[in-house]
């Protein structure tokens, strides 16, 4: 236990030191060069604004992260299920996969106006967009992973009398886990981006809307505070995912 603690400390300390150095350099630079606030405020001013506006900012970030997380979960399940169906039915895959790749190459934020028209300005449109963005990432990675087992391994399973579902459950899914985890990581990043951009273009609440309104009001400190906070929020989500990773790829 103590060993793990010191190990964690050893990993965190350099990062913390680097961050502190960066903040000091930033603060010093802004102060020395007398940079105006609308160009770049100092980090301590931003942190101060975050503390002053903790209530509304916290509420906003909660909504944003909630939307991102909901979209992430729905999109992951959707992507994984479609991947399984496509792998079980190769003709479907040949017919649909090019379409998926085509849709995936359109940035999901391009669908924001459509999502707002279809699902309104509330949370539904954000969740739908996030789901879309996540599902493509998970789908493509999952397909690649599910098809990774070599033919010999599939043949071995068949020789033991396993059917398609048995091969899927005992061979393809576990073998695909590392790829699926990659898909989840990419998906999570995409999900927060999609939600924040959608909030900027039309929402009742959320950190994207805060950024949009503060920009309109030329309140750059609040803009920066919101950006800081949303990065912290994404970082927290990412940390959560790293925890799950260890369980999804338990054998490493």
């Amino acid at each position: 236990m103590a060993g793990r603690l010191t190990e964690t400390l050893h990993r965190i300390l350099p990062v913390a030191a680097g961050l502190a150095a960066l903040l000091l350099l930033w603060e010093g630079g802004v102060w020395l060069l007398d940079v105006p606030v609308y160009v770049l405020p100092g980090p301590f001013a931003i942190l101060g604004t975050m503390v002053d506006n903790a209530g509304p900012l916290g509420a906003a970030v909660q909504i944003t992260l909630g939307e991102a997380l909901a979209g992430f979960v729905i999109g992951s399940l959707l992507g994984l299920s479609i991947a399984i169906v496509l792998v079980l039915a190769p003709p479907l895959e040949t017919a649909l996969l090019p379409l998926v790749v085509m849709l995936n190459s359109v940035p999901s934020v391009a669908f924001v106006p459509l999502a707002l028209i279809w699902f309104g300005l509330g949370i539904a449109s954000k969740i739908a967009l996030a789901s879309l963005a996540v599902s493509f990432a998970v789908l493509l990675n999952a397909i690649q992973g599910l098809k990774r087992p070599e033919q010999e391994a599939v043949d071995l399973m068949r020789s033991f009398g396993a059917g398609r579902l048995g091969i899927l459950w005992r061979l393809r899914l576990p073998a695909a886990m590392p790829s699926i985890v990659t898909g989840l990581r990419v998906g999570l990043a995409r999900s927060t981006i999609a939600v924040i951009v959608a909030e900027m273009m039309g929402a009742y609440a959320g950190i994207g809307q805060v950024i949009y309104q503060a920009t309109a009001q030329i309140d750059y400190l609040v803009v920066w505070a919101a950006v800081f906070l949303s990065s912290l929020g994404s970082l927290a989500l990412y940390g959560l995912l790293t925890l799950i990773d260890g369980r999804l790829v338990w054998w490493r």
Partner: protein, 307 residues
């Protein structure tokens, strides 16, 4: 220790190995170049009758197997050698039910023709690669086939646990494959094959990737195990010494198109110890087989061998 496997033992295992020839038909020596007639005293466990495998259309057709006839009797240990690309693996896939023979031939199992994957689940098959699943521990890799058969997990694990010492894996049950040496991985794969209790075991170069010392040790160990369990074994190898040392009969295949060149009955007494390989009888058999195999290898070399 091995009670878990009692059901799979052949009664023949109880008698001394010297007793075994009595069960083999007297006609065995004449079976060297022709398949056994159906009226042989013992029905073959598996029989290949005029097995062909052709790929592609007439002018550019590749023939992998050309009229293979071979019968394997229950309890027999048959080894198969031949130059690379002679269709050994194709033959194996057919006996495992993974591939069909061309329509003019058949694989018979206990006298009945098998087609369209009917053999799947009836033959215990060990491919060349160990194919252990990285996400399963030693014991869970070993019980894979049992799980597919629907044996409850606890029961499957208990049966595997009882076999661990025999396979030199005691204490390693919770290790993952990447923590094992090549020889150990191969033993886990063999254990998985053994736990899938079927009368016929197909082993495709199980020791091919091992160093010479480990390989010799594994061969003796496999013979011990076989003498205990008496499953019928068909064993592919590149190694003539291995083929003679292990087999009751050595089947030599020709270069592509693969057919059976000769079948040599190995009368070396069992149990066979390490010293057998230096006995004059062994050397004599080896000299004879080597000449045949070399001839085929040169042929396969000069025709470009495997594509």
């Amino acid at each position: 220790m091995m009670t878990a496997l009692k059901g799979a033992f052949r009664s023949m295992a109880d008698s001394a190995p010297e007793g075994a020839p009595a069960e083999r038909p007297a006609a065995a020596p004449t079976a060297e170049t022709t398949p056994e007639p159906a009226s042989a005293p013992v029905t073959p466990l598996v029989e290949m009758v005029n097995v062909w495998k052709r790929f592609g259309e007439a002018p550019r057709q590749t023939v992998a197997l050309a009229g293979v006839d071979l019968a394997i009797r229950p309890g027999e240990f048959v080894t198969l050698i031949g130059p690379s690309g002679c269709g050994k693996s194709t033959l194996f896939n057919m006996i495992a039910g993974l591939a069909d023979t061309d329509a003019d031939g058949a694989v018979l199992f206990k006298g009945r023709p098998q087609r369209d994957g009917e053999l799947l689940g009836k033959v215990s098959f060990m491919p060349q690669k160990d194919l252990l699943f990285a996400w399963r521990t030693v014991i869970d890799n070993a019980t894979l086939a049992l799980e597919i058969e629907g044996v409850p997990r606890a029961q499957a694990r208990a049966r595997a646990a009882a076999m661990l010492p025999d396979f030199g894996l005691a204490g390693f049950e919770t290790h993952y494959p990447h923590q094992l040496s090549g020889g150990m991985r191969q033993r886990v794969a063999l254990m998985r094959t053994f736990l899938f209790e079927r009368e016929l075991m197909l082993l495709d170069e199980p020791f091919g990737a091992l160093d010479a010392l480990t390989r010799a040790m594994m061969q003796r160990w496999l013979l011990d195990l076989w003498e205990k369990h008496r499953r019928t074994v068909l064993f592919i190898t590149h190694d003539i010494d291995e083929a003679i040392f292990l087999g009751d009969r050595v089947v030599v295949m020709t270069a592509r198109p693969g057919r059976i060149k000769t079948v040599e009955t190995i009368d070396l007494p069992r149990p066979r110890g390490a010293e057998v390989v230096t006995s004059p009888e062994f050397i004599e058999i080896k000299r004879r087989l080597l000449a045949i195999v070399e001839e085929e290898s040169i042929k396969s070399f000069s025709t470009g061998g495997a594509p």
